[in-house]
Amino acid sequence: MPHVIDRLLEQANAIILGKEHQIRLALACILARGDLLIEDLPGVGKTTLAHALAKLMGLDFHRIQFTSDLLPADIIGATIYENGRFTFQPGPIFAQVVLADEVNRATPKTQSALLEAMEERQVTVDGETRRLPDPFFVIATQNPDTQIGTFPLPESQLDRFLMCLELGYPDAEAERALLRGEDRREILRELRPVMTPEQLQQIQAQVPRIHVSEALVTYLQALLEHSRVCGRYRNGLSPRAGLGLLRAAQAWALVDGREAVLPEDVQAVFPSVATHRLHPITELEGRTRNRHTRELLEEVSVP
């Protein structure tokens, strides 16, 4: 199985250059059955990443561009009268990988329709409940720059994303390679899946079986506890965040080819799991929220 994962990573890295760590995190997020939020500027490869992952895993892929006039029905689908009877026209949410682009441009009503579907893995239209496909995975993107007419996701909604990533600009070498290389869309089109959806489900099923020792639980709990008592955040991490952190660390260990979770695994996924859930009381000059989270890690001893 690791063989498949390695090939997937290798292929993805060939498309998105210089972002090994983020790709690994995104993969761990998928394996942990979590949804992913990417907060970054336009044009750094968010869509390409989502598309590539879907393609490599052999999953079908829908992209929804969120706009301020997007309605819930535009996502979920609607019942329409056609040929003398009512039929349900499924919306773009009925796909295995859904890319919700610029989710903060839609109204809260539309946003919550997406998030509810994400949470329940099913949608209800006209009293009829329809299951979403399995595997199902949402990649939402958010433009961090405050713009007129946007609705940033509220904290309670942010908590539903297992991870929040920033891609960032590629480094010089990667960028040169990118500029010299082929058109990314060409590569994407030619991409062949390295696994089947069934294989993905099998791997996902393995994640909870990655061993978690007593010592690691102690460490993880200390981290959660510290986020609550350190006094820097409006709220500490919730138990749901703790469970997510554990699952993500297990997935990370699996991607790394190990059978037990190490403190390092927790540390690797911690910034992306915790940062969007923690809101500093005071924004300190020159410190990004990411830096805050890393400080938090440095304050808790590994037992």
Binding site: S213, A215, V229, G231, R232
Partner: protein, 650 residues
Amino acid sequence: MSRPRLDPLLPTTTLAAMLLTLAAIAVPHALRLPFWISLLALACGGWRYLRAVRGESLPPTWLRVLLTVTVVGGIYAHYDTLLGLEAGTALLVSMTALKLLEMRARRDTHVVLYLGFLLIGMQFLFSQTLPNLIYLIVSVWAMLMLLISAHRATGHGKPWQYARLSGALVLQAIPVAAVLFLLFPRVSGPLWRMPDEGHAQTGLSDTMSPGSVSQLSQSDAVAFRVEFDGDIPPPSQRYWRALVLTHYDGYTWSRMTPRTPPPQLDHVPVEHAYDILLEPHGQQWLPALEMATRAGNEIGLTALYELRSRNPLDERLNYRLRSSPHYRLQAELPPNLRQAYLMLPDASAKQAKELAQKWRADSNDPRDILRRARDYFVQREFVYTLSPPRLPRDPVDQFLFETQRGFCEHYAGAFAVLMRAAGVPARVVTGYQGGELNPIGEYLIVRQSDAHAWVEIWMDGEGWLRIDPTAWVSPNRIEQGLASALPAGEPIPFLARPDSGLLKALELRWDALNNGWNRWVLGYNPSLQRSVLSRLGLDNLFYTALALAASIALIVLTLTLILLLQGRRRGFDPLAAAYERFCRKLARAGLERRHHEGPADFARRVVAARPDLAEPVRAITKLYIDARYGAATPSDAPRKLRRLITTFRP
């Protein structure tokens, strides 16, 4: 080898607060310590602060060891010992300061803070006054605040939250302390010897010469305080006898105690019962309201009917007396003693002797002689003053016939000489006269400014009678106190003035508070405890309760110990301990594991820095990770790990 950078153990503001609080706690000690220790402590604190601000590492071990050895040597050189209260305090203060230099982990912070608490407590071994208690409570409050913020992982928090929390803790502790104070069995006498404060002698001395009492009158320090059971006697009866002076050498009156048992005292039983709380004066005399009829066993009674303590008074003394203003002391005087009370030096007071002999020639009756003497003082222009002219030649003659200005010691001395010359046995008594009623608490404050001298003359069949010639000249001195008796412009001590307004009222309030503290807290001895407990109805219960409390305490202690030991065993992880040792070995080689660093990351870092160690480090780390975090821990893993680490030589 580069020493690791200082971890941000405490935010610099917390560190600064901690250093300042420690300094405030050490200041009262510093007043008693050799100068260089205070300097050292200041230097250590400053050094530690600068290092923290600049993020530099702490001084190396050899320097700290060197400093410690030097300081201990210095203290030994200064005190000739390392034991005892003074040397112990010096040691504690300097070691606390030096500990600052190795304060790198949270544990060290706690050690420093606990040392601070110890320093606060030690302050009480030196002084137990009420202001000191307030100082103690404030210090404890500040220290608790620091302890709380040091316990909080990051120290990020609102200072006032810590202040409120520690304030609540202090307030919660006060009732517990009060109950323990009341109920905890007292032992008589202090558990430790209080430091000698140099046996400074204050108050009256064993001799009286012109100027000695008036000098005392310049001080408004409290001599003693008195609480009466019933009515307080009127000012004219408040004669506090302290010393009886029998011998006159022409200038100075001094004590010469005959080696005979105390004389017979007959009295009409009109009694005052009262407690005297005497401030330490480094001498043995004990004041008593004229005339004390009964005293406790620890108080001696001399042939002159003075009360004496066995040892010089270095501590405040509380004693209970009964006195009767109507008494007959020593109705019969043996001829040899009578002779002694008539002795005068030949060369001095010639004019006075002439005058007295003239009186005697007129009438042999001591009553007539006394009347003549009284008329003499009343009819002449005698002035009562604190600043009389100097009397270099003959104090009695010069005073009686030339200056006629004097303070009580002049009147008493001259009158006693006159009486002796006229054949009436006489002696000078020094003590205090008067005392101010503190309306808050209903007790008398007797100050040094109330010091007074008078005379006792002996009459056949009546014994010793108190005669106060000052009262003839200045009745106000006796009725209303020193201040109203002196002419305007005389230097009267501030608190002896009758009407000093608000400040005076505050002073009286403060004195009442202090009196209560001295009497009920510092003076809380076994007998007082018994009486308090019996008043609370706990008398019979006391020892049962004591036994009960002791057994409960024992049980709790045992349980705590058991739980602690169990906790240790449960918390002890042989794998973690072995790995700890591995990390220590690497730390000595300059590769310290950061406390938040996972084992795999650490191993990567070590291997990158020291490729030569790659093989053992990888093996140890793999074994450790597999055993500690893996699915199945082989039972021999700790042993294997220990063996690997024992042979590991970085």
